[in-house]
Every structure is written in C-alpha cells, then in structure tokens.
C-alpha cells in the first residue's frame, strides 16, 4: 500500500511522535512510503506536488490553511488531488482533525479536513467517507500504527461521530489513570509534584471528558501525562486548546465540567458523600519522605 504523508500548518510533532514507534522499521515494511517529510521515501515533496504519484493512504498532518504553498505549489489543491485517488485519508493529530492550536491563530482560514472545531465542515467534505481522524497533540504513534495495520488488513475501523476510531477513542483518558482511586474518594492532589491525589478538582485535569487511550496504551510505552502528575490537557477533543489548562474551572468550588455523561446531581451526590469520609490510606503518602515525618 502506498502512503503519501503531507503537511499543512504544523509543528511536525506528529511526524516526530510517529518516529517513536517501537517497531517502526517492521511496521514500515508493510507499506511503501511514496513521500514522508522526514523518513526515507521514494519521492521528494516537489515530485508529489508536480507529478501524479500512487496513493492508497493519504496522511495529513497539520491544519489546512487557504493559500498555503509548499514546494511552490498550493498544498490544499494537491491534498484534494490525492484525496480523490486515495482509498483512505488519515488526519494525523488534532490540527488536521479539528484545527487545533494552529486554528487559534486565524479561525477563519485555518482548520481541519472536515471539522472546524466541532462543526462539521471543511475543504475535504466531498471525501468525508474516507476520512479517519486521529486527534492527539501530538498523535500517539501506536494509534496511527494501529489504524495503518487495520487498513492493510482491509478492515475499516468503526468510528465515532467525530470520525475517531472507537477502539482507540471510546475510552476516556481517565480510564486507567493511576489516580482513579483518589478520584473515586475525592482526594485532591494537594499541589503539583505528588504521586497521590487526583488532578480533577484543582489542577485542571480534562481526562474525565477527554476521549483517548493515553492511560491504556501508554505514551512512549511507559507513561502518560496524569501518571507524570500533569493534568490531561484534553488534546484529542475539538475544543483543544482551552485556556487556563493548569487550573480547574470551578463555580463556587464545584468543577464546571462534569465527567462525560454523568449528570451533575448524580455526581454531586456521590462526590459529596465520598468527600465526607477521611480515608487514612488515601490521605497518606504512598512512599513517605523524611519531610513527611
């Protein structure tokens, strides 16, 4: 299968994230890279722009901007050319999927392939059926590898309304976080830099309403933001990036955004009760430090 990887407005983060795949060479054995921005490939960007090269899978990284030129050619025009030929189109990362960070700069002229934020529109609407969105800022290498392997087996992944494969995005990032027990019993992280406590109440963790498998298929095979004590920034969602991401938006101390699908009344009843109990184990350090004594 022939792959062409093209870039819109991007930081190259998806390209570099993909390079972290643990079995990259083996994975790539199954495909022919007609063009890739960094990896060894058959053709230059100029050739992709000027010739009509084979393309079964078109991968787009970065947001689409009107009048963006690369190698002296209009990028969007060439994307449309290859989109018509390709059997599948993958939006690699949040920018290509929804516009992401780069859309903030000029929402009028910069956006995703078929989504502008969560609104369904965009320059590739005619090819919507072929599109698979793999948001994430950056994309997780294994998510991309997984979809490529499905396509190679002629399986088209089932997707959600935002065209994200369910096998990867049906989960919430919250699922599998090591701090889940603290979430259940409403034990907040006292501050950053702790192993203990949940980051939902004060540090702005977006994971309870962010779809993705960051805590199932770990990043770089070993960790995730929440495992490293960083709040999830919600980068797989069309709302990314929100503002003030290291603080929970609260209304009178109550988180303004409820965990996905949980009615506020239900959540507050359960959490109010859970918070009433003081559970010594959860309030103690996991590994005491001398300074804790």
């Amino acid at each position: 299968m022939n792959i062409i990887w093209l870039q819109g407005v991007t930081c190259n983060g998806n390209t570099h994230s993909f390079l972290n795949h643990p079995h990259l060479a083996t994975l790539l054995d199954h495909f022919t890279l007609i063009h890739h921005p960094v990896l060894p490939c058959a053709h230059t960007l100029r050739a992709v722009m000027e010739k009509d090269l084979p393309c079964d899978i078109l991968i787009i990284e970065g947001a689409i901007q009107d009048n963006l030129n690369r190698a002296d050619h209009d990028v969007l025009g060439r994307i449309i050319h290859y989109a018509a030929k390709a059997n599948h189109i993958i939006a690699a990362g949040t920018c290509a999927s929804f516009g992401g960070i780069h859309r903030q700069i000029d929402p009028e002229h910069i956006g995703g392939l078929v989504f502008q934020g969560d609104e369904s529109s965009g320059p590739l609407m005619a090819y919507r059926d072929k599109i698979i969105n793999l948001p994430g800022c950056p994309i997780h290498p294994e998510w991309l590898a997984n979809v490529l392997l499905s396509l190679r087996e002629n399986r088209t992944p089932k997707t959600d309304a935002l065209l994200r494969p369910l096998s990867l995005y049906a989960y919430l990032v919250h699922n599998g976080c090591l701090r889940n027990e603290y979430f259940e019993w409403k034990v907040d992280a006292k501050h950053f830099g702790t192993k203990e406590g949940c980051l939902y109440y004060e540090q702005g963790c977006q994971a309870p309403y962010t779809h993705g498998s960051c805590n199932k298929i770990l990043w770089n095979g070993v960790s995730s933001k929440t495992r490293a004590g960083t709040p999830c920034l919600g980068c797989t969602e069309p709302t990314f990036p929100k503002r003030n991401l290291f603080e929970t938006l609260t209304h009178m101390s109550i988180p303004a955004t409820m965990p996905e699908g949980i009615p506020k009344r239900t959540y507050l009843t359960v959490s109010g009760v859970a918070k009433s109990f003081h559970i010594k184990r959860l309030e103690s350090p996991l590994i005491p430090k001398k300074s804790d004594a």
């Binding site: 407005v9 991007t10 930081c11 190259n12 983060g13 998806n14 390209t15 570099h16 994230s17 390079l19 972290n20 795949h21 990259l24 060479a25 921005p37 960094v38 990896l39 060894p40 230059t44 960007l45 100029r46 030129n69 690369r70 190698a71 002296d72 960070i101 780069h102 903030q104 700069i105 800022c137 950056p138 501050h191 950053f192 830099g193 702790t194 192993k195 960051c214 990043w219 770089n220 095979g221 070993v222 960790s223 995730s224 933001k225 929440t226 495992r227 490293a228 004590g229 960083t230 920034l233 990036p241 503002r243 003030n244 991401l245 290291f246 603080e247 590994i287 430090k289 001398k290 300074s291």
Partner: protein
C-alpha cells in the same frame, strides 16, 4: 546565475536562492516562507498556558520551549521580588529531560539529515538512516518516564516539576540509558563510552569503527573536511550543568550580557522583505550557535583539536554534534544517579494572579540558545517574544556581512550547498513560529 532551491526534509521548509559565479557560490539568500503566529495566540492567555502552547511551536525541540517558558515565568517571579527556588531534584530532572531531547535530536539529525545529504558526495555507501529509529525511540522513552510523554510534555511548571518519581522510575531510566548506550556503542561509536571519552584528537576518532568515524573518514576521503567554514564566532547563552554562557571569537572566551541580544526584522515581509525569519544578533553581530559553540565554550579537547585543524568547518560542526550526544548521555547518567528522591518535586509559588512583571528564560536547545521573554500583568500574558536558535544560525545578512550559514556557503562548490546548509540543522518551524 541564480539557482533557486526549496529545501525540504528539514523541520519545515526553507528557500535558498544561490548566486553562482564561476562555479562558486557567491551569495545565498535564505528565506522562510511560512508563518504561524504562536506569540500572538499567547497574548491575553494565562501565564501557564505558555507551558502548553510554546512546546507546540516545534515537534522536535518542544521540550526546550517548555523549559524556556518555565524559566521565563520563574524569572518574572524573581523580578517581582518573589524568587522561586526549585529543589536540586527538580532542577536535575529538568536538565535530564532537556538533555534527552537534545540526544534524540542529534541522532535524528545525524542519520536522517546528514547521511542522506553526504551520500551523493561520497564514494562508499553510508550507514542506513534507520539507525536512528531505536536510539531515538529509547531517548524519548526515558524522557517520558519523568515528563509523561514526548513530544509535547508539559511537566515543568513554575515551582518545579509535576512528577514525583520513585526509585522505580530512577532505575528504569538507568536501565534504559544503559540500553541506549549499548546501541550507540555498537552502531555509532564502535567503542565503549569510557574508551571514547579518552579520545582527544581527530586521529584517535577516525581510528574507531562506528558510524561516526565512518562518516568522518568518508568526509576526509572525499575532500569535504574543510568546507563550510563560517565566521568562527560562537555564542552560548543558556546556563546548564554542561555549559555556561560565553562568547567565543576564534578561540577567545568572553562573558556575555543578555541585554546585548537583539532581533532584526528588516528582511521580513512585514518590512517589505522576502522572509518570515527575523535575524538574531549579539552586539549587532552574527554568531553561530549550537553544539559546536557549546564545545568551544566548554573547551572540549576533542572538538578543539578538530577546530585547530579545520576551524569551524563542516567536519567540526558534525563532530561537535555527535560528540555532544555522548557527553549528554554521560551527564544524564550522572544526574540520574544523583537524584535525591527525598526532595520535593514542587514548591507552590505565590499565586500567579498576583504576578505582574517581566521575565526571560534562556535555554540551550539542540541548535543553540532559545530565548523566551514574557510580560505578565496579574498573571496574564501581555507580550511574549521568542528568539529561536535558527534565527542565529540562519540569519540573513548582506554580502559584506553575511549570516553564519550564508558565510559557510559563500565560496563553496555549488555541489556542496546542500550538506553545508543542512549542517546547521535548520529548523524552519521554530524560526517562523
């Protein structure tokens, strides 16, 4: 004659118009055609958002941006009379992860940029580019043990770091580092680290059997060792465990004063010019930055030995980068071992909403000094200015006073233009953030 070229397979895209006279490059006009406007989206945002947004300026050196952003905000705290003292542990962790990003950058550059550009000029078949994959993934994996993920971590925050590693992560990191060393020893260096560290001159280096010496030997065999000399002026601005700020002209080391750094936008589209890249200058002069500059500032015996023979030529530039990779790994190990896990990861500073001040954060990124300047009002960003390393190296001057890369290209054989240009590890996405 003018030869117009679009350079791809760098971070982003650059355009070079070569003026060729009598089979030599007389001048090169370098421009960066893309612009994104990352500084603008920071204006009006809460300060901490810089930790999320600025790493996304660049997929390969985003971690350096994170470090510059956090240093900038912390320096604003100090300017406001409320200095932040992070623990030695938090400091060491930040250095470790920054160094790991440098390591993966250098390996990518060597295998994915330098080797393909050298191949057409060499008689022998050069090592495979896929040599980069395993060490790169491994470096980023160690980085993620502390920073949660790579690229685009946001684990450094004013007051420290968000992670609180235990012996588990410390040991995992040391174990993986050993693995990484093994890979580098068998492929890149061809000798063990201790033996490599003994090497002090070019002869001993070329006697090794790894990809590094293979490339150096090929360059010598094909007469490429002396090409690409530039101004022989170097600048280091970031303070780290491995290097301190210095200005080096030929071989004289001087202290630097950050106030002497300036930006020049006369060539930009905004001023009727031809590029989005702004020039970075020190005392109004162009300087080369990055691993070679750092080696000169560190008085590194091996690189100084090569420099003595070839000045700031291509060979020195390439050797300095690969050599730095090894030093970084040794330093990462030392820092990992030294971590005192009893120390706090984070100390809460004064609430940022009370902070109105200006700050500057300087970091030695893979390609040289990265500068973030921030102006905060009640914790909200009023102004954000970024100067990236490529703005130094790829600065655009005149024939009389060319930028470092221009100077390196001038007088060169046109066939050598590509490798000379790429030896500066051009990052267009950073330059035109």
């Amino acid at each position: 004659m003018i030869r117009k070229e679009i350079v791809e397979r760098i971070e982003g895209e650059a355009r070079v118009d070569y003026e060729i006279e009598e089979d030599k490059i007389a001048f090169a006009q370098i421009s960066f055609p893309h612009f994104r406007g990352m500084e603008r989206i920071l204006e009006g945002a809460p300060a901490h958002d810089a930790l999320m947004i600025t790493p996304r300026i660049c997929g390969i050196c985003g971690h350096a941006h994170l470090m510059a952003a956090v240093r900038a905000i912390e320096s604003a705290y100090a300017a406001a009379g409320s200095p932040i003292f992070i623990t030695p542990k938090a400091h060491a962790l930040r250095e470790i992860t920054l160094y790991l990003e440098l390591v993966q950058n250098h390996i990518k550059w060597f295998y994915l940029t330098v080797i393909p550009a050298l191949q057409p000029l060499c008689t022998e078949t050069l090592p495979k580019t896929s040599g980069a994959f395993a060490p790169v993934a491994l470096s980023n994996r160690i980085l993620a043990l502390f920073a949660g993920q790579a690229p685009h971590s946001a684990y450094a925050i004013p007051g420290g770091v968000t992670c609180d590693p235990s012996e588990l992560e410390q040991n995992q990191a040391l174990g993986m580092l050993e693995e990484l060393e093994k890979l580098l020893v068998s492929d890149l260096l061809g000798t063990n680290i201790a033996a490599y560290m003994e090497i002090q001159n070019l002869e001993a280096l070329t006697a090794l059997s790894g990809d590094f010496s293979y490339i150096i030997n090929e360059m010598e065999k094909n007469g490429l060792q002396g090409i690409g000399q530039s101004h022989d002026r170097f600048l280091v601005l970031g303070e780290h465990t491995l290097v301190s700020p210095a200005k080096i002209t030929h071989t004289t080391l001087r202290m630097v004063d950050n106030d002497k750094v300036s930006e020049d936008d006369t060539n930009t589209f905004a001023k009727g010019g031809f590029t989005y890249g702004k020039n970075a200058l020190y005392k109004g002069m162009f300087f080369e930055t990055g691993p070679m500059a750092r080696a000169m500032a560190r008085l590194d015996p091996l690189i100084k030995n090569i420099h003595r023979r070839h000045k700031d030529a291509l060979i020195t530039r390439i050797a300095a980068r690969v050599h730095e990779t090894v030093l970084l790994i040794t330093e990462i190990r030392r820092l990992l071992r030294s971590l005192d896990l009893e120390q706090e990861s984070f100390r809460a500073p004064m609430p940022i909403s009370r902070l109105s001040a200006e700050g500057v954060g300087i970091v030695e990124a893979p390609r040289g000094p990265l500068i973030h300047r921030v102006k905060l009002k009640s914790g909200i960003i009023e102004r954000y200015d970024i100067i990236t390393p490529t703005q130094w190296n790829l600065a655009h001057g005149t024939r009389e006073n060319p930028g470092p890369a221009q100077r390196a290209l001038m007088g060169a054989n046109p066939h050598h233009s590509d490798i000379i240009f790429r030896s500066f590890d051009v990052c267009s996405v950073c330059t035109t953030h």
